[in-house]
């Protein structure tokens, strides 16, 4: 305690400048509406969705919500594409420098929009289970008579659709945020709906609620870190603009303790969202407990948003000081890859296993994110695109394997699946190979470009670790394939539910994208390497 006493008594008064009087008039910052139109459409549609919930009769809601959300995403995508043509080469910084809409932003936005359509269709599927994946009435206590009654009701909490749209809007802002405060608000806008959605599973509601509590408490804990980091950086630079922080690092008389303390805390908050080890502890529990389409949405889209944010913060805000922090993130990347690869080996639940796989993938992504060169940026973006599609499809397939109690996610229940349903087993095997990074899948090209970018930036030891980690990780994917193909099916094993056409379509598209990006990645690679972050 004496240290604290020392701290307090030793403090000397410092001259404090008086705050200036507020300006007499405040000029309105210019707003480029075409640039931010996709966000406005998504968030507006989410508000309309809330009104739908308020005023539409219950039986109409699901169709109305689905149509509204998909339509909104399509319109947003259309606006996005038309803006892509007219956007200046260096991007647009708008809303008083709060948002930066540039080439990487557009890539991330487009990916998020497409994947969210897929996730929404999975969420709306009511053929695999009567009433869908979501609970009919979340307020009913699990285990009661009413709960058993609602399990058979063909209804669901349709609030998931506006919630998903809000989360999507948050993710889009998060990727484009050019200052830390906007980023923080976006972080909360994307997280709060996800916390709620995690707790809405129709079956196994105790697990689902537990996942929500854990995700919420840890998420809030992590955002407190992020926020404290923000405050320290504000103290350092006098501003939370990323570019101001970068400039301040070049010349200020403030203590660099504030800079690096702030950076460390900020990065912890971001790494948590990207489920990078050792900040991954929530991932397996939440992935397992959440309703599977929500897991798919989280696994694919949150990862993209989080790494979009990490990429921008590191390269725009802290590019000038990379020498100091890079070594630390090396360590984090290695920890993440090792944790993911090693812990994944002994998992017995498919969803947990994929969760650990996502931790390992987060490590690979982090390698790309700390390259800080155009090659690293484009490689990481490409990896995100491939990973998003593969993950969405993986969870989509996991949601189809069911028995009388709902989803059969225990690995032993997957034994001999190839005999019962060759198509689903084959699809799953292909997706697992893609996650393992076997050639002719997008996963291979993704790893390849990330590793090459890292090599060209002198990170050979990291790449060696990464190659070894991916070799270790290949075993747990292999375990599932072995189980599906080389084991006898259990007597009372699960059946594969035939999903509706829409879900089938989503899974097909994702699998085809995974294959296509493995054979001809050039289209997307051209796209991801077409521009860099706007600096201002």
């Amino acid at each position: 305690m004496s240290v604290l006493a020392t701290l307090v008594t030793a403090a000397q008064p410092v001259p404090v400048p008086a705050p200036p009087a507020p300006a007499a008039t405040i000029t309105q910052p210019p707003i480029s509406y075409p640039a931010i139109m996709p966000i406005l459409i998504i968030l507006g549609a989410a508000c309309v969705g809330v009104l739908f919930e308020a005023f539409l009769p219950r039986h109409n809601r699901i169709a109305a919500q689905l149509v509204l959300s998909v339509l909104a995403i399509l319109v947003a995508g259309w606006r996005l594409l038309s803006y892509a043509d007219e956007m200046p080469e260096t991007g647009t910084i708008t809303l008083g420098r709060a948002l930066a809409v540039d080439k990487p932003t557009l890539v991330l936005w487009a990916t998020l929009l497409v994947l969210t359509i897929g996730a929404l269709i999975l969420m709306a599927d009511r053929t695999v289970e009567r009433g869908g994946y979501f609970v009919a009435d979340a307020a009913v206590r699990p285990g009661t008579v009413q709960d058993r009654a609602q399990a058979g009701r063909g209804e669901m909490q349709t609030e998931v659709f506006p919630l998903a749209l809000f989360a999507l809007g948050g993710m889009m802002v998060f990727c484009a945020a050019n200052d830390l405060l906007t980023m923080f608000i976006a972080l909360e806008v994307l997280s709060l709906p996800l916390y709620l959605m995690c707790g809405l599973a129709r079956r196994r509601r105790l697990l689902s609620q537990e996942a929500a509590v854990k995700y919420f408490l840890l998420g809030a804990f992590a955002s407190a870190f992020f926020l404290y980091g923000l405050a320290l950086l504000y103290g350092y630079a006098g501003s939370v603009q990323l570019s101001d922080i970068a400039n301040a690092a070049a010349g200020t008389n403030r203590s660099e303790t504030l800079l690096f303390g702030g950076l460390g805390l900020l990065v912890v908050g971001l790494l948590f969202k990207g489920s990078v080890g050792p900040f991954h502890t929530w991932t397996p529990d939440v992935y397992q407990g959440a309703p599977t389409p929500v897991t798919a949405f989280m696994g694919a889209c949150t990862k993209i948003a989080a790494f979009g944010g990490i990429l921008r913060v590191l390269s725009v805000g802290f590019g000038t000081t990379s020498w100091e922090w890079r070594g630390v993130l090396w360590g984090v990347a290695i920890a993440s890859m090792v944790i993911g690869a090693v812990l994944g080996l002994t998992q017995t639940d498919v969803k947990r296993m994929v969760a650990y796989s996502s931790v390992a993938h987060a490590g690979f992504l982090l390698i790309g994110a700390i390259v800080l060169k155009p090659a690293g940026l484009s490689a990481t973006l490409f990896y995100l695109v491939t990973y998003g599609f593969t993950t969405l499809a993986t969870f989509g397939v996991i949601g189809l394997v069911r028995n009388a109690d709902g989803e059969a996610t225990h690995l032993s229940q997957w034994a001999g699946l190839a005999k019962r349903s060759p198509l689903v087993a084959g699809t799953m095997a292909f997706l697992l190979l893609a996650l393992a990074g076997i050639p002719l899948t997008s996963g291979f090209v993704g790893k390849f470009v990330v590793f090459q970018a890292a090599l060209s930036d002198g990170m050979a030891p990291l790449v060696v670790v990464a190659v070894l980690a991916s070799a270790v990780a290949a075993f747990f994917y292999l375990r599932v394939i072995v189980l599906m193909y080389f084991s006898q099916p259990a007597e009372d094993g699960p059946t594969v539910t035939i999903p509706n056409l829409w879900t089938t379509g989503v899974l097909t598209v994702c699998v085809l994208v995974t294959l296509f990006l493995g054979i001809a990645p050039s289209l997307v690679l051209d796209w991801t390497s077409s521009g860099v972050f706007a600096l201002q």
Partner: protein, 654 residues
């Protein structure tokens, strides 16, 4: 990408029928796609489609071969650009083929032997409900293998490399109801991954140093001396690690014998004739790299020599006919690796032996398959005996393969193996003696275990008459149907004549010279060629004679002697009273055999299993950290944050 080359090579853009090389790959790929995606609808004609695509690919391969022979030597290395696979700023990976004598040779081997084995499989798999899927996997294998040999960059090679690994893995585990098959498949995948990591790292190093992985550019850069000798050595060792994994070389050989759990045509095609030779191909293909690194080559030679002896010795100890052949494969690939490790003097010889081996070993496996087919899938040679009367065609073709393998004068193996031995001796100094001696010793051992196999299977007492198979049926050995015997006969003809055709006048070596360089003449050898030949024939005769003494003269016990491997039993019975012989020959031999079997089962498997156990055990323990308590998760996060913060500040301020 065209005409970039310099140095020794000249590469031109592919044209004419060589420009259609993609067709060779596409045909089996389409076959695989149709068969695997088509489902039950294709059951009726699936096997025919599977054969047709491979035969068509073979025909086109022959067309390309003749088109290529019509060209000048300088025109024979052709590059076929297909499309830009991964084009990002600094990184250009083209997907393209390199059609040159080396890849054409492999195309002919793969599609030729592949066609025969596809046809054979129609008969062999006739009773399998999933025959269509089997052909789908086989087609997938052929397509991947062709990508492997035709690719014009290391990345394309890696693509095929993983593809054949996958197909091999699926086929080893074909009999899903046998736990041993699943284990064997897993083991194969596991050990191959070890090798693959080596290959991947080698590719990354090449890219990092040279900024490309195209053969043309890599070889040109190596020729210009742009790699330091340390880097070169690292690349050669990592490539060799890849080769060891795929080709079942020491210390990664243990998966190959287990891989015999797969159906016999698979053993013949993938685990004898083609896929397992990919390692030899890799080293031969990378010959400019190996030529530039004598130290790297020395390691290759050492690995080859060790493997060839290990394979021979262990081959003496097994009673399982397929395992003996598998260890024989390990040992023969050891010869090939030894040969390509010798440098310019040996690249062509390695490929020559690879081709002749492809013929006779595929033939031997098909023969073994035919025997098993006749004997209710029994593999224990102790239950065979006297089969030659019952299955004359099989016996005849098997004998051809056998004679070729042991190096009977003027048959295939004789030409290729003697050339390798001669090249090994010509290394001069201790190396010549050691490697040449190892190769010589291998000849005697090969003759011994193969003769033992012949005696136990085809001669002697009909032990099966008194026995029943494990499923309670009696044995009624019979000759296989024509669809199986005809491929065997064709391969037998190859075993007899291919060596002579390819070796006399250096036909093959000259043909390969645009890729592998001119064969340098052996010199510095302590023996002249006729002397060497005589010695090696003498050793072969000794091996055969010893086998006759130990196995052929006496009845073979049906039950494997308990807890004692065969040579001990043999030594006690047949060498009784001959104490000197026992002490000098049998005992050490027994110990050596036992030791090597032990090493193989415990040591190497143990190491691999040990690594797996370390990861698995670590994983199992670390898993417990995920306690399910939110507070402990928060603690992990806080600890992580403090570490990150402390590290950041430490880096900055220290």
């Amino acid at each position: 990408m065209m005409n970039l080359s310099e140095g020794a090579e000249s590469v031109v853009a592919a044209s004419g029928s060589l420009g259609g090389a993609w067709l060779v790959v596409l045909l089996p790929a389409i076959g695989a796609l149709v068969l695997l995606a088509g489902g039950k609808r294709t059951n009726a004609w699936g096997h025919l489609l599977g054969c047709a695509t491979v035969i068509a690919a073979f025909v086109y391969g022959v067309v390309m071969f003749f088109a290529s022979t019509g060209l000048d030597a300088g025109q024979r290395v052709q590059n076929l650009h297909i499309y830009d696979w991964i084009p990002v700023n600094a990184l250009q990976v083209d997907f393209g083929f390199r059609v040159d004598p080396l890849s054409l040779t492999f195309v002919l081997l793969i599609t030729g032997v592949g066609s025969l084995i596809h046809i054979y499989s129609i008969g062999y798999m006739a009773e399998d409900r999933d025959r269509r899927r089997f052909f789908g996997y086989l087609n997938l294998f052929v397509a991947s293998m062709l990508v492997l040999v035709l690719g014009n960059s290391f990345v394309t090679l890696y693509l095929g490399w993983e593809g054949v690994g996958l197909a091999s893995y699926l086929l080893i585990g074909w009999y899903q109801d046998r736990p041993s098959a699943a284990t064997a498949a897993k083991k194969a995948f596991l050990m191959n991954r070890v090798g693959d990591v080596g290959l991947a790292l080698a590719i990354f190093i090449l890219f990092q140093q040279l900024g490309t992985t195209q053969y043309t550019e890599v070889f040109a850069a190596v020729g210009d001396g742009r790699l330091s000798s340390g880097t070169l050595l690292a690349v050669t060792i990592l490539l060799l690690l890849g080769a060891c994994g795929k080709s079942g070389q020491f210390p990664l050989q243990a998966w190959l014998p287990d891989a015999m759990e797969g159906p016999t045509p698979v053993s013949a095609l993938i685990h004898a004739a083609t896929m397992v030779t990919a390692g030899v191909y890799l080293i031969a293909r990378s010959n400019p790299i190996y030529s530039a690194s004598p130290d790297g080559r020395l390691i290759v030679v050492i690995i080859g020599a060790i493997t060839l002896l290990i394979g021979c010795v262990i081959g003496c100890a097994y009673d399982d006919i397929k395992k003996v052949l598998a260890y024989s494969t390990v040992s023969q690939i050891g010869y090939m690796i030894l040969a390509v490790g010798l440098g310019p003097i040996g690249y062509g010889l390695g490929i020559l032996h690879l081709l002749t081996h492809g013929f006779f070993k595929a033939g031997l496996f098909l023969g073994a398959g035919s025997v098993m087919h006749a004997m209710n899938d029994e593999v224990d040679m102790r239950k065979f005996g006297g089969l030659w009367k019952k299955m004359r065609i099989t016996f005849a073709t098997f004998t051809c393969g056998y004679l070729a393998l042991i190096g009977f004068p003027l048959l295939s193996g004789y030409w290729s193996k003697d050339a390798i031995i001669e090249a090994a001796f010509s290394q001069g100094g201790w190396r010549g003696w050691v490697f040449g001696g190892a190769a010589m010793l291998g000849v005697a051992l090969t003759a011994f275990y193969m003769t033992r196999l012949m005696f136990m299977t085809f001669f002697g007492e009909k032990r099966w008459e008194k026995l029943k198979s494990t499923d309670g049926r009696e044995f009624h050995p019979h000759e296989a149907p024509a669809v199986m015997t005809i491929p065997m006969i064709i391969l037998a003809v190859g075993s007899l004549g291919a060596g002579a055709y390819l070796a006399i006048n250096h036909t093959l070596v000259d043909w390969l010279s645009p890729t592998l360089g001119e064969l340098s003449e052996a010199h510095d050898s302590p023996f002249s060629t006729p002397v060497l030949t005589t010695i090696s024939i003498a050793l072969m005769v000794i091996g055969v004679g010893l086998a006759w003494l130990l196995v052929g003269r006496k009845p073979v016990p049906v039950e494997k002697p308990e807890r004692v491997s065969f040579p001990v039993r043999a030594a006690r019975r047949d060498l009784y009273g001959n104490a000197l012989n026992e002490v000098l020959v049998a005992r050490p031999g027994t110990w050596l055999t036992r030791f090597l079997v032990f090493l193989d089962n415990r040591g190497v498997d143990g190491a691999v299993n040990g690594i797996a156990a370390v990861f698995g055990g670590g994983s199992g323990r670390l898993r417990r950290l995920q306690t399910g308590f939110v507070r402990s998760y928060a603690l992990t996060m806080l600890a992580g944050s403090i570490l990150v913060l402390a590290a950041l500040l430490m880096v900055r301020f220290s």
